[in-house]
Amino acid sequence: MPKRTDIKSILLIGSGPIVIGQACEFDYSGTQACKALKEEGYRVVLINSNPATIMTDPELADRTYVEPITLDVVEQVIERERPDALLPTMGGQTALNTAIGLAKRGTLAKYGVQLIGASAEAIHKAEDREAFRQAMWKIGLNTPESAVARTLLDAERALDRIGFPAIVRPSFTLGGTGGNIAYNIEEFRRCVEWGLQASPVGEILIEQSVIGWKEFELEVMRDLKDNVVIVCPIENLDPMGVHTGDSITVAPAMTLTDKEYQLLRDAALRIIREIGVDTGGSNIQFGLHPETGEMVIIEMNPRVSRSSALASKATGFPIAKIAAKLAVGYTLDEITNDITRVTKAAFEPTIDYVVVKIPRFTFEKFPGADPTLTTQMKSVGEAMAIGRTFKEALQKAVRSMEIDRYGLVSLLGLDRGVPAGANGEELAAKVRDRLKIPHPDRLWHLADAMRLGLPTEELYQRTKIDPWFLEQIREIVRFEDRLRGEALTADLLREAKQLGFADERIGQLNGMDGKTLRERRTNPSVEAEAVRATYKRVDTCAAEFEAKTPYLYSTYERECEAAPTGRQKVMILGGGPNRIGQGIEFDYCCVHAAFALREEGIETIMVNCNPETVSTDYDTSDRLYFEPLTQEDVLNIIRVEQPLGVVVQFGGQTPLKLALPLEKAGVTILGTSPDAIDRAEDRERFRDLLEKLQLRQPASGIARSVEEAARVAAAITYPVMVRPSYVLGGRAMRIVYDEAGLMGYMTSAVTASPNHPVLIDKYLEDAIEVDVDALSDGRHVAVAGIMEHIEEAGVHSGDSACSLPPYTLGQSIVEEIRRQTTALAMELGVIGLMNAQFAVRDGKVFVLEVNPRGSRTVPFVSKAIGVPLAKLAMKVMMGKTLQELGFTATRPLDYVAVKEAVFPFMKFAGVDVLLGPEMRSTGEVMGVDGDFGWAFAKAQAGAGVALPQGGTVFLSVKDQDKRAAVDVARHLQRLHFRIEATSGTAAYLRDQGVDVQTVNKVNEGRPHIVDHIKNGEISLVINTVGSEASHADSASIRREALQKGLPYYTTMRGALAAALGIDASRRKALTIRSLQEYHARREC
């Protein structure tokens, strides 16, 4: 069927900020959808609050609304743009829920907007647990025994039938929020209460546990003619009980006979038909009993998903792009397979390699969080690797994670064998204990168990991981013996490399350094003994047809299909797996670099291993290497491709830390020199630089022992900011107010030693922090954006909200910051992007840090000012001047853009929500408006925080904040809020003439503040705390606010901004405007 001509304009809803369970895979799918629909000539209207996405680049859609994804806002978009259709399946659960909400409130009917891709009924049938269960029953398929409950009583009744262990999941959430396993009645009640709260509709599903069953996922595509294909069967190494997002997953399925696989396939076809997903992709999860083959259907997502992004990258079949085309009427047989260019999309990819995805966790950032893996997703990113065997792919995936493990390194010190004198029994007991629960380190625990001789049968009984996988892991572990004991001949090395062993890992086992080994391996004295990587293509068809698209992965086999061109080419190093501190913003920059090079006629080579991203779309660059970002893997590609140079500026720390080693290996680093990068990162060199420029910096020192730390801190004077020198992203960074605090930190959080010094900086209390992004061509510096943080200095810049332009700083300070930024960029010789952070206190500007690279705020600034900074930076790096590019200065904005961070605290029970120097946010949103208050309110709404319009504000602030609290309280009182405060704060406020009610602290008897919050009597919580000792007393207040979904602010500047936001929304109704409109206004 040809495409539909009765619709002209299509609304796409993005997935909003990056959160656990909903990450940049939806930028990948949304971007594909935008491109596909534009290509077909449709007018595309897009809404997404996340500025760090490629999809919100103004060129991608006709109208781009970077506005909060709420029903009211989307309704306004519909009213303004009058789209004919809404495609709800590209923006994750957010888009799906929004579309359903709009259908329910009658908006779609009112404006005549048609849902395409999936109807409201189909979405309901797939998403509503009970409706889904009945649908499955109708077509003869089993689901786990289950019941829906809206009260604890219902839940307990259902338990009689379901029994323990039982899984409790809230309805209509994503990433399994609140999904938990209960083994006894006490746990059960706790889970039920939590689940009821977490569900937006106050409903939970209680399910029979199928923990330990084998888990599979099928990606299914269907078109309007009812043609159905399975894109890829994926098998989870971790059996049922661990959320699929937290599981190691493998494609294709490894342990199913054809009879069993076809059973799943038949079921998948019937499910997509019964649910009635008309067009596009769906994902269906199956559980299979490992000893009987009994099958249950776990769930179905009637939309593209994280798994569909993975399946797309794993097979070369672009699910989202094709789903978009199917949604407008094409059928699978009418769409060409991009990779072969001769066959059609109506087929099922077959693969001749193995794909392994490993989730990446950041429990270290959430002390107190339980690292047990459950049905609630906790990982923040993932790496995917491709190899010709499972073993090769697994080891490549492990080193792709960048967790300083180049393989299945022993966590028990067994890498050189069981040490003499070690008690094997004791170690075995330890490892058995660790294998009791699913844990992020389970893979490594298993390897250790094997080193200690535990048999596969026992490991299977403990973990229910299929023995096939266990045997494969054992083959890796067993080969370690040969690497430890034998001479490293070419044959042995080749075998090791085919098994996926990294040079570093071979070195660890053999006692050789990885670099020497690599040198010997790739350039031996006898050419025949060279062991070098070869590259194979991902082609959707196991070589049955020729692959026209160079989408490559490395292996160590006979034939190399890389076939590099003789063109001028540049290699871009991506950011690797998402983690807190390094996410989609860096991928955005890498993608822009590729676009810029394409515009300049230069061939682009992308290297990355994150399957969620746009950068790993084979469409983004001329050539894609899906490879780990280690020195070894990158050098291997350089050897084959011989690029003009390598770009390390855009992918965050991952490529940046490769800059020096690559340069040493003779590789040209484009843009800012590695020496300049080092000059900015090395503390001593940086201090010299600032001295030379006569710029101010907070007092600082280095300590190599506990005693030295005390001396340094005393000299600097408290409070001080302390951190280990060897970690990034604010890891283990802390503000301490006195020597007791310092001692506590030095003894528990870090070990200071001559090799691992601790850095101590003066903490500037109540200073305003400022972030600056600038672009330099070496002769001229263009300061692109100066952002004033909402939260004070001391809160990690990634966790702080910020305003562009500054909303409280005076013009002279802004000019001074501009001057200092320019001086820094010139002195460092920056070619490309630079980010600098400043603190402003008492009219003085302090330099906090300088990063001569693309920063987290680049996409935000680009969207705010309407200039594609990363693209320009790439062109500058290729020799263009800013003059030539027409970007030498930014004109002032007549609107305000506010960025706000989004946190995963809901997923980590028991973790305090206080902000600090350690970054913990997963994503960000942007709010734009003519008015700061509104821009802030929009950013809050985008982050899921609805500012209250009235009610009672609770205030409890530390002494230093009491003065500021008066301002906020007065402001809110004017807006007719009731004020409630704990005794100290209340007394102070009352003194200042604020009308305030006193409420008990939690330890002051009942009813206390938490009771008030639980009873729904509070609409806004403002709570700041000083010393760490006071944190515990008030933690329950903040946690309760979080659970209740109440807006809460833990800094006074945040609270004040909230007051301004409330004020603005009282004064003026919500108005929205597209980026194109904002930018056009700037041009005329």
Partner: protein, 395 residues
């Protein structure tokens, strides 16, 4: 680890590790891109005369069992895989792959770049090859491959067909065997009330065809390939099936002869080699494909409904039309001495003919494998169609 070599007639040699029975074997080297179903593939009689390369890198993962077979033994002449699993894992597994090959005296090789090999065969075409564990001299092995007889013109069906007629009564049965609810299977249900009597010409029939016939309510008699039409007529069947089988359709002229006598007499179901035999019987030509179709993911369009089925395929020969087939005008028919013939199914991959419809006689003829096994079940309904033909055909 014992070494082995794979030598191709064009002189290309791969080194690898010995797999299965220690010996030497020769056959036409083909590749199959199915990701599951190696046991069904090994036991498919259509692979007689051929060495099979699996493109999926891990083979043997789930072992082998006594039920997932397509015939009583392995027919493939040799087996080429990237990596065979040493320890199988599946609740139905009874034996490992290597032991299975060993017991069946099948020579295999593993540990070679099967993707390079596949690309080679794709570009240069299928050819004779030798796997040897015993003589690792590349030159001698290449010579053996060169001098081995090819499959063109060889009556391989005669070597795999049954010796005597037999009855087949087993259907697909409940699946999985132990599951409490068996609603998950996609079996074509029984059609009509009476059992249809079907005679199956065995050119190397896959057992799943027989099971599918039983599923739709047939009582099945399998007869040797050389059975003449008169004998079949005396058996009073409601329909006749011409099965799949190995090799060159032109090498079994007696089958085309029998088919000519049966066309129009009773409904016919022709699958794979049977389909090619129909083509020859109609006066069309057959030709050898460069590397054949051996897969479980090939899209085939039913030109009457324009719907796509994902099909299981295993053939090296195909039917050719006198004039190039134009999918744009699929309605075009061809006049033969058995009336008008039209193309009913076409491959979306390469445009080759995947099904023929005789417009004046009840014939259902498919190049691909509606019985799957291994492969998707999209086309299982065709057995029902055949049953309908028998239901409505009035002799």
């Amino acid at each position: 680890m014992k070494k082995a070599i794979l030598a191709l007639a064009d002189g290309t040699v791969f080194e690898g590790r010995a797999l299965g029975f220690a010996g030497e074997t020769v056959g036409e080297l083909v590749f199959n891109t199915s990701m599951t179903g190696y046991q069904e593939i090994l036991t498919d009689p259509s692979y007689k005369g051929q060495i099979v390369t699996m493109t999926c890198p891990h083979i043997g993962n789930y072992g082998v069992n006594t039920t997932d077979v397509e015939s009583r033994r392995i027919w493939a002449e040799g087996f080429v895989v990237k990596e065979s699993s040493r320890k199988p894992s599946n609740w139905r597994a009874e034996l490992g792959l290597s032991e299975y090959l060993m017991e069946a005296h099948v020579v295999g090789i593993e540990g070679l770049d099967t993707r390079a090999l596949t690309r080679h065969l794709r570009d240069r075409g299928c050819q004779q090859a030798v796997i040897s564990h015993v003589d690792l001299d590349p030159k001698r092995a290449v010579d053996k491959a060169r001098t081995a007889p090819g499959i063109v013109g060889r009556d391989l069906a005669a070597t795999v067909t049954c010796i005597e007629p037999y009855e087949w009564t087993e259907g697909s049965g409940a699946w999985p065997p132990d599951a409490a609810v068996s609603g998950a299977q996609s079996q074509p249900g029984r059609v009509g009330q009476r059992p249809y009597r079907v005679v199956v010409y065995d050119f190397g029939v896959k057992q799943n065809m027989l099971r599918r016939l039983v599923d739709v309510g047939c009582s099945v008699t399998v007869v040797p390939a050389s059975t003449d039409a008169e004998t079949v007529k005396t058996m009073h069947p409601d329909g006749v099936m011409f099965s799949n089988g190995p090799g060159d359709p032109e090498a079994v002229p007696y089958a085309a002869e029998a088919l000519r006598q049966l066309i129009g007499w009773r409904p016919l179901l022709c699958i794979c080699l049977g389909h090619q035999i129909l083509g020859l019987a109609l006066g069309l030509k057959t030709y050898k494909l460069t590397f054949g179709h051996h897969a479980g993911n090939h899209p085939v369009m039913d030109l009457r409904t324009r719907k796509v089925e994902i099909t299981s395929q295993n053939h090296n020969f195909a039917v050719q039309l006198p004039a190039p087939f134009d999918p744009a005008t699929p309605q075009a028919t061809l006049d033969t001495k058995f009336g008008r013939v039209a193309v009913s199914h076409v491959s979306l991959n390469d445009g080759s003919i995947e099904g023929l419809a005789c417009l004046d006689h009840p014939v259902l003829s498919l190049q691909y494998h509606p019985e799957a096994s291994p492969g998707p079940h999209d086309s299982a309904y065709l057995f029902r169609q055949f049953a309908h033909m028998m239901e409505t055909h009035h002799a």
